[in-house]
Amino acid sequence: MTLLARLTPGARAALLVIAVGALCMALDRSANWLPGWPDALTLPMTQWVGDGLEWVFDLIRPGVRLISALLEYPMAGVNWLLTETPWPLVLGATVALAWYAGGLSMAALASVGLGFVLISGYWVEGMNTLALVFVSVPLALILGLLIGIWSNESPRARPWIEATLDLMQTVPTFAYLTPLLLLFGFGPVVGLIASAIYAAPPMARNTALGLQRVEAEVKEAGIMAGATRAQQLIQVEIPAASTQIMIGVNQALMAALSMVIIAAVIGGFDDIGWEVLLTMRQANFGQSLLAGLVIVVFAIIIDRISARMATSGQRFDLRISWIILGVSVVAAIAAWALLPPPGDFALLAPTVEAVDSGLSQFTRGAGATLDSIKNNAMFYGLLPLRIGLDSAVLPFTWGFSWTPGMSWIYYGVAGLIGLGVALTGRITLGASLVILAGVFETGISELPWPVVFVGVGALAWVSGGWKLTRLVVILLLFIAIAGLWERALLSLYLCGAAVLICAVVGGLLGLLSAVSATAWAVIRPVCDMLQTIPLFVFLIPVLMFFQIGEFSALLAIIAYAIVPMIRYTRHGLVTTPAELLEAATSSGATKWQTMKEVRAPYAAPTILLGLNQTILYAFAMLVIAALIGTTGLGQSIYIALGSANVGLGIVAGAAMAILALIADRIVQGFAEERRRALGL
């Protein structure tokens, strides 16, 4: 009893998990209900949800179709405007705006970027995409602004609104599409609505955050001047929060663009996302890369201009903007008859062919190397993690087969190491090592469900107490009862592998960036770039080199999800207060001692938040990666989209959101605990 009381919560939780794991192993032979969740305990939830939604949809479909019909008008209008306007005018207007917001460098960026789009021959497709963005974003902004204000005005509604926003952002993007498809029917309106829904939460969040952050005294000054609530909101609080709200506009724009591209998978609209998908399916990688680059160019131009307008009050001479616009009008009129249609440009066609032939030459030459990289990663890393050493070790790959005797030896060694570590006082670490060894031997997808329940529950208990444990167990139960247990574990495995790699590599890169300004000067633009690229585009390069499969998916996830880990790690490490560093230096600490003893502990909460973001990013990408062959919930969602199975789409989407939510809450709990410990 006293021994138990002396253990830290972490050690108690870890020992409990080991006990449950050992029990499961002992029962393994006699109990065949252990590995997968028993079918008898599942409910046809997919069916119910599907039927229920169908019923609701039938009810509201006429109204929805009306909205859809009404939306056709602005969409057709904007589309017509963008595609029919002579391209010199569109280019000139964009450059004029870019000049006004950011001067020469921004104007140069805009002209080079749009010039690239023009000569790529994807002008029309690009404008089709932009038309969707420009119609959906105002919807998202109005919706987001209203939700943000509502959240600010009603403290009672706030927690519910925040939970809903959380959900809207964690529900995977593809999962939106299935119900919308059923409601609105095939066509661009689905993409429009989906992107409006997807882009509203960042706007709502930033509006609410901005309003809450308006200084109390500024608010009080408004009240004491005798402003009514409406005057106060419109004349004082919203203008005072404008910077934060503009950041919301920037994020909403990016989210809308990302979603519009993703929505291309439903097709029916001749946009640039569809072009990427099409060329990718034809294994026409040069062309696919070109289309992908067009998307990236759009993303960068939109992001940089709107971000500049949000964060800097500086504006450039408007007269020059008018001159640029005037010149482009003159050019458009003068050369009206001479202008080639924008779709006819194909200056980059030779480049594309060169890339294609270069690529095929490269894959022919380096194919063996690439394959061996892939196979090694699969056979010695991913597979054991997925199905365990006991199944993954085969004569064909490892040169021998795994026997039960080996399992005993393996567990014996792991146990001894764990015990050794525990005896030095680090009981939690020792026990965790044993658990990890067990996971590797069994494989994540074949873990007995009681171990998963107890393991995740125990983690939640350490992180956030009984309340979190209860929430987590109930949520896991939902997944299990819905019959998605095995798929959820597969998702967990791929995501886990990606997050693990991101944490290690990203953490190291973050550390490097923190100690070396040169390294940061190199890494930072790469991070900026990776964060601007819409999810979809990540698939192109990995497909080019590694074809369809889990390994490609893993690489795409890592490329996307590693950024927050790098950024937060660096940020946490470099923002240690100067006094703490001075105190350490004056105590005679070396650079690395300071890093280990002062900076790292101080940065821990921030780094944990980075890990949290990385996990959420990984889940978001996991679903997109279903396009290039993964087996998990992402695949279910994608299949649901293809077969218009709204029940499966919603339930699998919910399961995915649940996994993300559980990870989020547990990591946030640890971060919170660290922050409290530091008195922050």
Binding site: E220, G222, G226
Partner: protein
């Protein structure tokens, strides 16, 4: 005596869930306010202001002084109803503002009340002139009139020429001048100042204090002024209320606070204050039959102790004190003067 400009009676501000009902219960269970307060505190509520009562006369400069956490900022927010008090009453010119409807409250704030904030509370998106004109805009004044009046007040606080600057371009002292100008733009009768000079450098602080006194001598507003600085309180106040842990422990003139502190807590505040500078001769005056007085250093009733002592440093016998019409008002012992200056030096 006419109705006081501000009268606060039995004011409580308790933070926590269901504070109103639980305050009532606590007051039912306990006889005294401090007992009720500790009762509330034990059950997890925060009694930030406890049973406060005071009156401010028209044209009086009333200072509320206390350390951080003593409840003084909460108090002024109760009086201006920026927070909703839990119990008690606040009357401004006899009108119970806690009972005022939201509409009436807006009217009152537009016409009668002005407030200055510690961290200025300037609207970041408005120029100096727009900030100052904001209360006038709320009053529905025309653009031209707003501008005219704003420039007038801006000139009064010595910021002419900066009217089109944005707050981010101003120094701390300048920002607070804008805050003061804004609070005066609509010419309110009652002026609330919440630690207006605490965020400023000592030099700028003294300069603004002097200008504040000058402005007030021309306007003669009823003022509630919050500070944590005893010397600021003594310098500015007609009367001072000292707060501790949510309670008012003493109300009095600067001389009363310095010379007759009610307890060690108040005494501790005035320990480092040069008392002779704030107390006048009347506080040590004897008015019984004068003993024999060989010397007359020509002490006047309105002299501070310090000035008086300087005039009779070498005298040991009682000396007469004269009022402003040249009649003898009483006498003082030079040793009393010295003692009064040294009360807390031990």
């Amino acid at each position: 005596m006419s109705t006081p400009a501000i009268s606060v009676d039995g004011l409580w501000q308790v933070f926590g869930t269901d504070a109103k009902a639980r305050l009532k219960e606590a007051l039912g269970r306990n006889d005294t306010a401090p007992d009720a307060a500790s009762d509330l505190r034990e059950s997890g509520l925060i009694p930030a202001v406890q049973d406060a009562s005071f009156e401010v006369r028209e044209g009086e400069l009333f200072v509320i002084m206390g350390l951080s956490g003593s409840g003084k900022s909460t108090m002024i927010r109760c009086v201006s109803r920026l927070v909703e008090p839990t119990a008690g009453s606040v009357k401004i010119d006899g009108e119970d503002i806690l009972a005022a409807s939201p509409k009436r409250l807006i009217e009152l704030r537009r016409e009668k009340l002005g407030m200055v904030f510690q961290h200025f509370g300037l609207f970041p998106h408005m120029t100096v002139a727009e900030n100052v004109a904001f209360p006038l805009k709320m009053l529905g004044k025309s653009r031209a009139e707003r501008r005219r009046r704003a420039l007038e007040v801006i000139e009064m606080v010595g910021l002419d020429g900066r009217e089109d600057a944005y707050p981010r371009e101003l120094s701390g002292g300048q920002k607070q001048r804008v805050g003061i100008a804004r609070s005066l733009a609509a010419n309110p009768d009652t002026w609330f100042l919440d630690e207006p000079f605490s965020a400023l450098d000592p030099l700028i602080r003294r300069q603004l204090q002097d200008e504040f006194l000058k402005i007030q001598s021309g306007l003669n507003k009823t003022i509630v002024f919050i500070t944590h600085d005893i010397s600021e309180a003594l310098k500015l106040a007609d009367r001072i209320a000292i707060m501790r842990d949510g309670r008012i422990v003493q109300i009095g003139t600067p001389a009363q606070i310095v010379l007759n502190p009610v307890d060690d807590y108040v005494r501790e505040f005035s320990r480092d204050v040069a008392k002779g500078r704030h107390a006048r001769l009347d506080s040590v005056l004897h008015t019984d039959t004068p003993p024999q007085m060989p010397d007359d250093p020509k002490l006047r009733l309105d002299m501070t102790l310090e000035e008086a002592l300087a005039n009779c440093m070498s005298l040991y016998e009682p000396v007469p004190v004269w009022d402003d019409r040249g009649r003898m008002a009483g006498y003082v012992h030079p040793s009393d003067l010295a003692a009064a200056l040294q009360v807390d030096r031990s």
